[in-house]
Amino acid sequence: MEKRFPRDFASLPSIFDYIAEFMAIHKIHSSAAYSLQFIVEELFTNLVKYSRGGREQIAVELSKHDNSVRVRLTDFDVDEFDVTTLPDVNIHEPAQSRKVGGLGVHLVRKMVDTMTYEYSNRVGTITITKNLARDDV
């Protein structure tokens, strides 16, 4: 299933509806909803904030494969922005010196099983896979 969304934070409710529809079709237990919503929101909002040049809508594709879910976001006519190379947040830093940003990708890395980025002909594609727990399917 693929849907395209305007590159705006206001797209988030529609994206969450799309995730709910996908989960219902594939009978994925609601226990997996939080992490799927979180992963898609973080990746989508990163593209909205940092991907340069994009004017077209962002494609979000969700697919179910045996015991895992694959999430793929495709951003058209953009400069290269490899989210997989962003540095991790130092979570052991004292509160006062912690940076407010950068946490989203750090947390996505903790939640997914694979995360890749491809860039070709000004099209950037982020793909993650998340294995489902036994209770999720």
């Binding site: 939080y34 992490s35 509160a95 946490l103």
Partner: protein
């Protein structure tokens, strides 16, 4: 739907879904907090890193004046994510 309200006992209540589209709403309310206080998560279903950033910025501002937020009644998903983020070292979580 997301809301933030401050009770008569100065307890802060977050409710609904705190995603990136709700940052301005939360910031407007939390920027008014100047003393230590408790944030009740009982009715908060979801929070993303955007919402966590607002809480972290508020905590840093309060700590600079010797105050702090304490977080209570987090659901399991939020508690797990706050653990991955090291927020259990930034906030007292009960």
């Amino acid at each position: 739907m997301f809301s933030v309200s401050i009770g008569s006992n100065k307890e802060i209540h977050l409710a609904g879904r705190f995603d990136a589209s709700q940052v301005a709403v939360a910031k407007e309310a939390l920027d008014r907090i100047t003393d230590s206080g408790t944030v009740d998560f009982t009715e908060l279903e979801y929070i993303s890193s955007a919402g966590m950033g607002v809480l972290l910025a508020t905590q840093k501002r309060l700590m600079a004046s010797g105050n702090k937020l304490t977080l209570v009644n987090l659901n399991k998903h939020i508690r797990d994510i706050f653990g991955y983020a090291g927020f259990d070292k930034v906030f007292e979580i009960r």
